[in-house]
Subunit: 157 residues, 2 copies
DNA sequence: TACGATTCCATTGACGCCCATGATTACCCA
DNA sequence: TGGGTAATCATGGGCGTCAATGGAATCGTA
């Protein structure tokens, strides 16, 4: 129904390493129209970014700012294209994470899918809980900073 | 499948020097429609650039930016066209790298194929790992410069 | 004939696809 | 409103197919 990834779900990996993509995420992917799941390792977080064409587009946007054959383009493409993976989604809506992806996120026998609008993240459940706590703490700080701003001026300073 | 080279794969050379092109790359090449594999030595990297018509096109674009009588054109053409080879792909999807190519990339008994969208690179596995570390570091810098765009936070879609 | 190159088989292990199970949820109807 | 039934979804397992790899057979040619 929605075209955004929202909420979070925790599913288990079976003996073959398969894990079901949450049903609601699958319907968003279907609407996005991309066969397979585009996944890359988070740059600053022990998590994975996943999505369809919408996620792909952001990567192309970044690379388009540089000229092919430039040093910049080469390095960025290495980190983005070179470490991205397109996972196949089986008829039941499951994927298999590669060893490299699982290692980056510290994933064992379960994962948490976290909606982020145009993409979603894949976390090791415990790490996500910790991350969520930290996020809540920081959010309180931000709210204090905003404290009482009736109309969004918004400039961060 | 996809029409872009993404992800990375490490395969081994057999006693005859043959190495399998990753299956997903082969399907991209097939769609690109090119007999054989176009390969040239990296301009300033110990790696090889490989691909099909899409790679050829970018090379022509680069050269087209210079006058055919300029020193720059001469240099680039020497580096790109002059070191290019068209490798045959056997029925199993394997290629054999020439000694010149292997020497340039320092390739021994294994290679890593790295997707770069319209082309892919061929690396000696250890060298690629080091290069990837550098690329990730660089991407963090660029991400800061672009203000979080690299995390795919700001898709305008 | 001998060597290099190319094609043809064979093996092994991973992966994709199909079907089964259990459990929860949504739905229908008396 | 309560009960029952159908639908959906996460999960598990069996099995055929394909990819990566190794080695043998064949062809062309010096």
């Amino acid at each position: 129904m929605t075209d955004r990834f929202v909420s979070n779900f925790t599913n288990r990996l079976d003996a073959k390493g398969r894990v079901s993509i949450p049903s609601s995420f699958r319907s968003v992917l279907a609407k996005d129209g991309y066969e397979g799941l585009y996944v890359h390792q988070g740059l600053d977080l022990p998590a994975l970014d996943a999505g369809g064409n919408a996620l792909r587009a952001t990567i192309d946007d970044i690379l388009a700012r540089f000229s092919p054959f430039s040093d910049e383009w080469e390095l960025l493409s290495t980190a983005l294209n070179g470490t991205s993976e397109v996972l196949k989604i089986d008829p039941e809506g499951r994927i298999v994470l590669s060893e490299a992806l699982k290692a980056h996120a510290g994933i064992g026998d379960a994962v948490t899918f976290v909606g982020h609008g145009h993409k979603f993240q894949i976390w090791e459940p415990e790490r996500f809980r910790a991350h969520l706590d930290a996020a809540r703490t920081r959010l309180r700080d931000v709210k204090r900073t905003l404290g009482g701003l009736a109309s969004a001026g918004g400039s961060g300073s």
